[in-house]
């Protein structure tokens, strides 16, 4: 039981608080998140790498993890080519704002999202009829095909990529000073400020704010959709596709919807990433990223939106924080995954239900073995 205590005992205590307290708690948490790059807290901020930039990448990974969680965690469809949707979003934004047109980013964004959603539907339509491992292989192929098309098509900038991708409009209102911890006590540093809100080359903090805002919006949307007929249909399909179909769930339609929703969010993340980078080429969309995205979901705990956020944070942040161990990055990452798979196979924060089901299973086992007399009162 102790194996699962980390995720279980802290969460219910939050959900039992009275509503006003909860709202205040959430707002302060959000404010803290927004202020994080300005506070530059020691140990947390990244020495040698721009902290705002790292945090922006974290929000992109969070978005991707939320989207992939819908596909993998909720609907139970193993997608190994998620980077494909991310690439479609990024390339659409790049083409429309720089390569073949001069649209403002905010106008291009809906089209980027639309394009990736469409690609999700187009991929899902023929492939969602196959299940499990077969689907994983087909999606794996999709991710690679998108990348290879990008490399080999001059119209998409081939291997040289696309530069000068549009930025969101700036609105330079005022300067916000950062904190400086050099003396050991936090001091306002008026030489180091961030303009509210300028999407420039040097200061990436406004991008982080934009990314964080999108993450919060997607998080809310995720909750609204999950707590409805749609969410139940996804879960039922994941648990037992045939039984769900026989209970009146049009499983194919809902799987396609999960794919399209996931692609929507993936495309959004890709477009934001492209805008921030200002330059993309096919190397930004390697198979490795699909695997990292999936790792974020699996490490965090598929099916739990807060879990996958933590997973995304770990996957995107830790390698940047400990850059000095750069050479060992992959080794440590691999070791961590192996440890996780043995110690917490459902991820760091599995959905509470999985935890509950597992707990009972374990209690029953203990009862049968008769090893732990005290557990009997609980069962």
């Amino acid at each position: 039981m102790s194996r699962f205590s980390l995720g279980t005992h802290s969460l219910p205590s939050v959900s039992t608080l009275p509503k006003p307290v909860k709202i205040v708690l959430w707002i302060s948490l959000a404010l803290l998140a927004y202020a994080l790059p300005l506070l530059e807290p020691p140990f947390i901020s990244t020495p040698g790498v721009d902290f705002g930039g790292v945090l922006f990448v974290v929000t992109v990974y969070m978005l991707v993890a939320l989207g992939l969680n819908i596909v993998v965690g909720y609907a139970g469809l193993l997608d190994l080519g998620y980077v494909g949707f991310y690439a479609v979003g990024a390339y659409t934004a790049a083409i429309l704002t720089s390569f073949h047109a001069n649209w403002p980013l905010l106008l291009a964004l809906p089209f980027a999202v639309l394009a990736s959603t469409l690609s999700g539907v187009l991929l899902g339509w023929p492939t969602l009829r196959v299940r499990g491992d077969y689907l994983a292989i087909v999606t794996l192929g999709f991710g690679e095909i998108i990348r290879l098309i990008a490399i080999n098509t001059e119209w998409l900038g081939d291997s040289r990529g696309i530069s000068n991708i549009g930025r969101p409009p700036s609105l330079e209102l005022f300067e916000i000073p950062h904190l400086n911890w050099d003396t050991g006590v936090p001091l306002l540093d008026f030489n180091d400020t961030t303009t509210f809100i300028e999407f420039g080359v040097l200061d990436q903090i406004p991008y982080y704010w934009l990314g964080l805002t999108v993450v919060i919006l997607v998080l809310i949307a995720d909750k609204l959709i999950k707590d409805s007929r749609v969410g139940r249909a996804w879960e039922a399909t994941r648990e037992d596709e045939d039984a769900a179909e026989l209970m009146g769930v049009p499983t194919f339609r809902f799987k396609l919807l999960a794919f399209a929703t996931g692609a929507f969010i993936g495309g959004l993340a890709g477009a934001l990433f492209a805008s921030r980078q200002s330059f993309i080429n096919p190397l930004n969309f390697l198979l490795l990223f699909s695997i990292l995205f999936l790792a974020a979901v699996v490490v965090g705990g598929q099916g739990n939106r807060w879990g996958v956020l933590v997973g995304a944070f770990l996957v995107a942040y830790l390698p940047q924080r400990f850059r000095e161990f750069d050479d060992f990055r992959v080794l440590v990452f691999g070791l961590a995954l192996v440890l996780l798979a043995t110690l917490r196979p459902e991820g760091l924060f599995p959905p509470r239900r999985t935890v509950r089901a597992k707990q009972l299973e374990q209690e029953l086992d203990e009862l049968e073995e008769g090893t732990d007399g005290e557990e009997k009162t609980h069962a």
Binding site: L224, R229, A233, A236, D240, A243, M247, R353
Partner: protein, 260 residues
């Protein structure tokens, strides 16, 4: 219309390669009755269920529900049009709560999509409330109200069987097909379940019941169809079936030369 036929199975044949699982089976179910479908193991009872609910496509023959052929309809469409079923091996959604399992059933008659859910449109709210009320009502009916928030996987065996019936009823079917709902029950539990099935019928559902325990099925059904090796060998009221020599032979076995 007491004699209205709700389901007509007409010369249904199902072949898997060389094996004929159902051979020219015809029967019908009248509205409001409990029809028992019995036969020894492997007689084709579950196959017949699967054909009715769209899992298998008939090799030949037709199945009409409310006068309309079910051919070519998808499984979820058949459920939505009013045929619900349970499974011989329990197939609940294990990591969902009892209530959510029943809600999935209730959702069969709902149309809330992603937009309604995302913007909490009136349709979402209306269907959520209606579904919740129906689900809780059915859980109470099945004696599962206390376990509403328990995960389906954590329910006792008997509760899981009852939850499956509640989930099927939540799809608001006209015909409910129960595939050996009493499997694994002791005689006392079986009697309680049979009372429950009668109550299900009294709520206006037509019931098709698979059961291979003869004695039990006699007490609860209005009419019985007997299958053996994919063929219908008898049909009639329980009393007639009990005395039918072919049925007795199928169940007890006879000398080689007498077997038909």
């Amino acid at each position: 219309m007491p004699d209205a036929r709700i389901l007509e199975v007409d010369q249904l044949t199902l072949q898997f390669g060389g094996l004929t699982a159902l051979d020219n089976v015809s029967f019908d179910i009248k509205e409001g009755e409990i029809l028992g479908l019995i036969g020894p193991n492997g007689a084709g009872k579950t196959t017949c269920f699967n054909a009715i609910t769209g899992v298998y496509k008939p090799t030949s023959g037709t199945i009409r529900f409310n006068g309309e052929s079910l051919a070519g309809r998808k499984r979820f469409q058949i459920t939505q049009s009013g045929i619900a079923r349970t499974f011989q091996n329990i197939r609940l959604f294990p990591t969902m709560t009892a209530l959510e399992n029943v809600l999935v059933g209730a959702d069969a008659q709902h149309t809330t999509g992603i937009v309604s859910a995302l913007f909490r449109l009136p349709k979402h709210r209306r269907e959520e409330i209606a579904g919740h009320d129906l689900a809780m009502e059915l859980l109470r009916f099945m004696g599962l109200a206390k376990q509403a928030d328990e995960l389906a996987a954590n329910l006792s065996y008997g509760d899981q069987r009852r939850l499956e019936i509640a989930r099927a009823m939540a799809t608001q079917p006209k015909l409910i097909c129960l595939d050996e709902p009493a499997a694994g029950f002791n005689p006392q539990e079986k009697r309680v379940l049979m009372d429950l099935i009668r109550k299900v019928r009294d709520r206006g559902f037509t019931v098709l019941l698979i059961e291979h325990d003869m004695r039990l099925v006699m007490g609860v059904t209005d009419r019985i169809v007997v299958l053996e090796f994919g063929k219908k060998i008898a049909e009639g009221a329980p009393a007639e079936i009990r005395d039918n020599p072919a049925v007795i032979a199928a169940y007890l076995g006879v000398e080689e030369e007498d077997a038909s």
